[in-house]
């Protein structure tokens, strides 16, 4: 599998000079993005470019707007202002090159579908509306499950999988989408060590094929080990760039320690509508 599409870069290519003016080489470029729930801004004035071909971690405390940033990128939440471009175009035009992996807790795992059913959902865009999933599609679904080491669980109903296996099913679905940009919301949350290892191996393999992966990540310990690019987020971008340069204790304490209390208070005030 894997049809070549544009925007492939070799790993390790020089990307340090990328800015908004080079947005054609950016996998994701975000300008002036503000997203609010109930008028309370969750992310505020985000301006960032994520160059393609990197394995990117979005890091920040709870409530920093990490998931919201991903959702805004795939039009799952209405934006108050600003825009997101994916490979230089609006998401509506680049859907086929993007795979979104929601948080595992966002779905009901008691639902009567099998691992294979879920993996095949990644093919629905290429299958199209109204057409059934046929044998060839199921074969590709099983291949995707196999790359995550769970082909033997293809026919198992999803509630009878462990948490780590459920996460692998979600990633198999994303893999079946054969995208250039993967947006993953906490794929490492509450998974066992073997699953974490399998996921990391997969992510690095995908990057080495020139694909871009943007991953909401909670475990600060492993950022350096897994990711070559980091986006530190706390309602606004604290810093973004190669892990070696950006992932410093100073930036981290800016992200986690010094909560942006003024901005937070202002957000509350906006929500209440007073001055």
């Amino acid at each position: 599998m894997g049809s070549p599409r544009g925007n492939r870069h070799q790993p390790g290519c020089q990307v340090g000079d990328l800015g908004p003016e080079h947005s054609d080489k950016s996998a994701v470029s975000i300008h002036d993005l503000t997203v609010a729930y109930d008028r309370k801004p969750v992310i505020w004035d985000i301006d960032v470019d994520i160059p393609s071909g990197h394995l990117v971690a979005i890091v920040g405390p709870n409530g920093a707007g990490k998931s919201t940033l991903l959702k805004a990128a795939v039009d799952l939440v209405p934006t108050s202002s600003g825009q997101v471009r994916i490979f230089g175009s609006p998401y509506a035009q680049t859907r086929d090159s993007v795979a979104y992996v929601p948080q595992r807790e966002s779905v009901d795992w008691d639902f009567p579908v099998t691992s294979l059913d879920v993996a095949c959902m990644g093919l629905y865009r290429s299958i199209g509306w109204l057409r059934p999933v046929n044998r060839a599609h199921r074969k590709r679904g099983i291949e995707a499950l196999d790359r995550l080491g769970i082909a033997d669980l293809a026919d198992r109903q999803i509630s009878r999988l462990s948490g780590g296996q459920q996460q692998r099913v979600f990633l198999a679905r994303a893999l079946a989408q054969d995208a250039q940009l993967y947006l993953m919301d906490e794929p490492f949350a509450a998974v066992d060590a073997a699953t974490e290892e399998a996921i990391v191996r997969l992510l690095q393999e995908l990057r080495s094929q020139g694909r871009t992966l943007v991953v909401v990540h909670h475990d600060i310990q492993t950022v350096r080990k897994y990711f070559d690019w980091v986006l530190l987020l706390n309602m606004r971008i604290v810093s973004s760039g190669p892990t070696d340069e950006v992932f410093t204790s100073e930036n981290l304490s800016k992200t986690y320690g010094g909560r942006l209390t003024l901005l937070d208070d202002a957000a509350e005030a906006v929500a209440r509508g007073d001055r």
Binding site: D75, M121, Y124, R125, I127, Q157
Partner: protein, 449 residues
């Protein structure tokens, strides 16, 4: 005697009875697809809400058209039903309240509005929503229309159409509807319009509910929407499997329900009873039956699994005991003593350990020699792996978990029975080459050695 009465009553079976069963079955099958989605989306009470929410639609349809034409009433009711469904979803998102809370707000409001409108309308004509809307299945076969020279009850015709349309939509849009119900966020990210599909499901629910209310009465519809999917989920892990089970269950309940309604009361000396009530009772009886006998989650199946597990544990305890005695060079133990010690050590009943012993003998894992009970080769291999798991666990619990050495035995006793080979090799890695348990006894080698 009772069987005789039953046969006598059934000999009076007429085409009307057949139609009643057919209408009940068609209603159940029409409700099946909607019901599956409602139950899986955890909004089972939507049918109940729609049954009340339709009232203003009917009254307004009547006020606007000034006729009691059932088609116009039907359209008014279906629109109000759809409004109930969509408004409650929208309200729950907007107010951030739990969905059933929003459903409660919307349908009571609409129902009250309907009552107020009836008072206004009542000045000119009488309008009794119970006559217009809430049907009675026993009377449904009497209202017929002629199709191609045959008298067909209107209810059978409308429910038949609704069934075919629902099933058709469900099968054609199977993958889309299923995904929208399972993971709406992902559906939206690949542009598979979950909001639109949701509206389609709610339209199906509204139309089905209204059509069915009119023909068979409210209680039966609510039961048909919710109970068959709940039963079907116990019987199938697949969406399509659930759908077919749902329909089958509805048909069976209709037959049992009507036969029960005309025969059971006679047996105890009354006239027949309410068919819709009896069909609902049959559904509940089927549910109870399935809870009892369903293969996976059923009570009997679970009891059997537990019994098999206990027997397995008792066998393993016997093997472990014999292995430890061999280690201690005690080769003579009578079966009586062995059983007594195993029963005490493992907390098993005497009957259970005897069965376990019989099983071990018949599978040639142990033998009874003149000196006493002895392990045979396959039994010894199995026993050494059990003891290995046990002692690795003791090591682990003592070193990694930090339990006191005199507390690890009981826990290891439980864990050794559920330790897979993979778990065992991971335990071995964790214990980093320590060849003895915390009590200084040797840990037997792994199967591969």
């Amino acid at each position: 005697m009772n069987v005789h009465t039953m046969a006598l009553v059934l000999s009076d079976w007429s085409y009307l009875d057949t139609w009643i069963v057919a209408i009940g079955a068609l209603c159940a099958m029409a409700c099946a697809s909607c019901g599956c989605f409602l139950v899986l989306r955890r909004m089972s009470m939507m049918g109940d809400a729609i049954s009340h929410g339709v009232l203003p639609g009917i009254v307004i349809a009547f006020l606007v058209s000034s006729t009691r034409s059932s088609t116009i009433m039907f359209i008014g009711a279906a629109l109000a039903g759809l409004l109930t469904a969509l408004a409650s979803q929208w309200l729950s998102q907007w107010l951030r309240v739990e969905r059933s809370g929003a459903i409660g707000v919307v349908f009571t409001t609409l129902f009250a509005l309907g009552i107020l409108l009836i008072v206004v309308a009542a000045d000119s004509v009488e309008l009794d929503p119970h006559c217009v809307l809430y049907g009675e299945i026993a009377l449904a076969p009497l209202d017929v229309i002629r199709v191609g020279g045959i008298d067909i009850p209107r209810a059978a015709l409308s429910l038949g159409i609704v069934w075919i349309v629902n099933l058709g939509i469900c099968l054609v849009l199977l993958k889309e509807l299923r995904m929208a119900s399972f993971d709406p966020q992902f559906s939206r990210s690949i542009d598979f319009k979950p909001e639109l599909l949701n509206a389609l499901i709610m339209t199906m629910v509204a139309v089905t509910t209204v059509a069915a209310f009119e023909s068979v009465g409210s209680i039966l519809v609510l039961a048909m929407l919710v109970i068959p999917p709940v039963i079907a989920r116990l019987l199938s892990d697949r969406f399509t499997g659930m759908l077919w089970w749902c329909m089958l269950i509805g048909v069976v309940a209709s037959i049992i329900g009507h036969v029960g309604a005309i025969t059971l009361p006679r047996i105890v000396g009354y006239e027949s009873t309410n068919t819709a009530g009896m069909m609902t009772v049959s559904l509940v009886v089927l549910l109870a039956l399935v809870i009892l006998i369903a293969p996976g989650p059923g009570i009997l199946a679970q009891a059997a699994r537990r019994r098999r597990h206990r027997l397995q544990v008792a066998q393993e305890d016997l093997l472990g005991l014999l292995f430890r005695m061999e280690e201690a060079n005690q080769h003579q133990i009578s079966s009586g003593t062995l059983l007594a010690r195993a029963a005490e050590a493992g907390g098993h009943g005497r009957a259970m350990v005897s069965r376990a012993l019989g099983k071990l003998l018949s599978t040639q894992r142990i033998q009874i020699a003149p000196e006493g009970v002895q392990l045979r080769e396959s039994g010894r291999r199995e026993a050494s792996q059990l003891v290995r798991s046990h002692r690795l666990w003791e090591r682990y619990l003592s070193d990694q978990v930090g339990l006191q050495d005199d507390h690890v035995h009981e826990t290891a006793m439980m864990l050794e029975h559920v330790t897979s080979p993979e778990m065992q090799s991971r335990l071995a890695e964790e214990s980093s080459g320590d060849r003895t348990d915390p009590h200084g006894r040797p840990i037997p080698g792994s199967e591969k050695d």
